[in-house]
Subunit: 203 residues, 4 copies
DNA sequence: AATGAATGAGCCTTCATTCAT
DNA sequence: AATGAATGAAGGCTCATTCAT
């Protein structure tokens, strides 16, 4: 009988966070199990006790990552009352000193490059996108219901909003010399508002 | 004293295209030099004669890739007279049976995941973005000059357009079950037009 | 101060039988301590409590194995009155549905491959052979005494009988498609009787 | 174009013999690829050039081993004219200073312990047995034809002879303190002649 | 008596790179 | 210009063993 019943959960979280940190720092392709062991403060065998293979560990780590991002997104949205404000609430994505953002992008880009060739990763990506879309659709429907929006079609609009966030993020993160945070936030608002307007139904 | 002076150029192109095909098919992290040799129909030594290291080869391959995409973009733009049409002319990016698009995305996602951790790749990304922006800015300025647009600020608008293209492409390519080509094209037009409108100056 | 003094003996037997089952199923080279733990229904630490190392455990397991086979052999022999019948009583060795035979051969072949390189195993093999020879020599001497045999030299004859059993067993077990049980039993009888005859002293 | 066309065959033979030497010396279970590399005078990568995996290499090594033994057996048999002499010609198997015998047994015992759990090895064992049987059956049939033997059934007799050789070899090699070469040769002759006699048909 | 978390040495395998020809 | 044999470092994974509880 283990002295600490939650030990497994604690260790797993420890390992997963260590893995994400290491991936963010070095890039998936350059991360070795030894790196993660060191970051997690565990031996090879100790890590193996919790995750049977590198692939297992990586999938779990990415899963945890998306879980965190999703939770953060929901919380930030909930801080706003106005539906449009909710939709525009993701500007923390363009905050250079936000750890979630700064650690998240390297992980995300690595992840996407793997998605292309790996079905299990595709599945994860799928779920993440759907989670994000759910949050956005709820905000749009709320706006439609309250009269704040005029019959915006939630499905394509949510997908468009999410795509815009990601497109701007890509530029902002990968070519910061060319794309200021100011530009990112400003462009995001313009493009999203423009897109939403295009869906508004004249009465 | 090469008997055929162009041989080097021919071989290099042969190798580069083989590398790109292999990268697109397997993903950078899974590509071995042996794979590329096989695809190029050359031996290890033969390949080594032209590219001294894997890194050299990959950088050259990505360079060639961006060169191709840039040329394609310019040509497609030039087919249109209206500045807005030029700006919207990249919808071939969402064409499932376009070889440039279909082979291009895997390469691009791999590329971006490396950019995060590699300065030389950052440099390349930078140039590619700037090339793309130049094309877009020219179209915007042309529209401003002709009165088609009303004083749109070319710099941020071009960056925004380019980011929108990429954001939608990411979704369309990585989660095709959720994002139809129809949605991609439609959303791209709505978002870009909305963005441009937001920059139009009322007189 | 063990609450149940026999517990140690019970546990050890439990472990040894589990080890033998596992060895028979997978082959020594493929057996892990974890396999044996699972088969024995014990944890690593529990097993370690009784056997300090894999080597210890294996030696004990093989010892137990030979003990079982020896006992079985003696019992079977004792069922027969005639010395020749006693000598020929080992045909259970060629019985496909005899658990001792079917589980025994994999263990035995593994054992012999180790004997070649390990002195402690050699010792065990030695003892096993000697035990077997003792049984056979007793039967021969009994036959000599009763006049059933005519001055057969017990030592070399017993060794020969034992070797014949084993040679036929090897073929019968490892290449059953080529060597039927019928052939095994028939050949064993012919060869052993032929050998014994060759030792009979004409008067 | 390789300077020495036979290089591959030479290297492979080099590697195979090195592997057999190492297996004979240490036992399959204790042989590492590094051991074989050292014995073959090759690096890990060099060895990998010729054999893609340990399993591949081992199968090839055992194949070569049986090939050698088979050739040796045929040659030795051919030195004798009389069918019975041919059949009894394998006494080199009990020669302590015969390299084929002394190196061969460790390999053979290792091999048999693997046969139990591995189909590919079973196949090899099968072929080896069949080859051996073919040699023996030819001699028996020759004896039958010449009148030296009287209608001995070649199939079961050959199997019996072969089994007797092996049974005696097992004892002689694994327990040499108990089984002298003199005993081995003598017992082999007695048992084989006894067996053959049992097959002779009275007229 | 028994658990199972943790260790770390060791092994097989891959692969970029070199170099004699 | 081109081949492919050879190198050796590095990585993922296994597993016997230890030990705190």
């Amino acid at each position: 009988m283990p002295p600490i019943p939650e030990l497994e959960a604690i260790r797993k979280s420890q390992i997963l966070q260590a893995a994400l940190r290491t991936i963010a720092a070095n890039g998936c392709a350059n991360v070795t199990m030894a790196d993660i062991c060191k970051a997690a403060g565990l031996s090879k065998g100790g890590l193996n006790h919790y995750y049977k293979s590198k692939r297992d560990l990586f999938l779990a780590a990415f899963g945890a990552f998306f879980q965190q991002i999703f939770q953060r997104s929901g919380e930030t949205m909930a801080e706003h009352a106005d539906p449009l404000d909710k939709i525009l609430s993701f500007e923390w994505l363009y905050t250079a000193d936000d750890p979630d953002a700064v650690l998240g992008y390297p992980v995300l880009f690595d992840f996407m490059s793997i998605v292309v060739h790996d079905e299990a990763y595709q599945q994860l990506f799928h779920e993440w996108v759907k989670n994000w879309l759910t949050l956005l659709k709820e905000a749009i429907e709320e706006g439609n219901a309250s009269g704040r929006f005029k019959g915006i079609d939630p499905e394509p609009a949510a997908k468009g909003i999410s795509a815009i966030y990601q497109g701007i993020a890509t530029r902002w993160f990968l070519a910061p010399e060319l794309h200021s945070t100011r530009w990112a936030v400003d462009t995001m608002r313009r493009a999203i508002i423009g897109l939403l307007d295009s869906y508004q139904q004249e009465t």
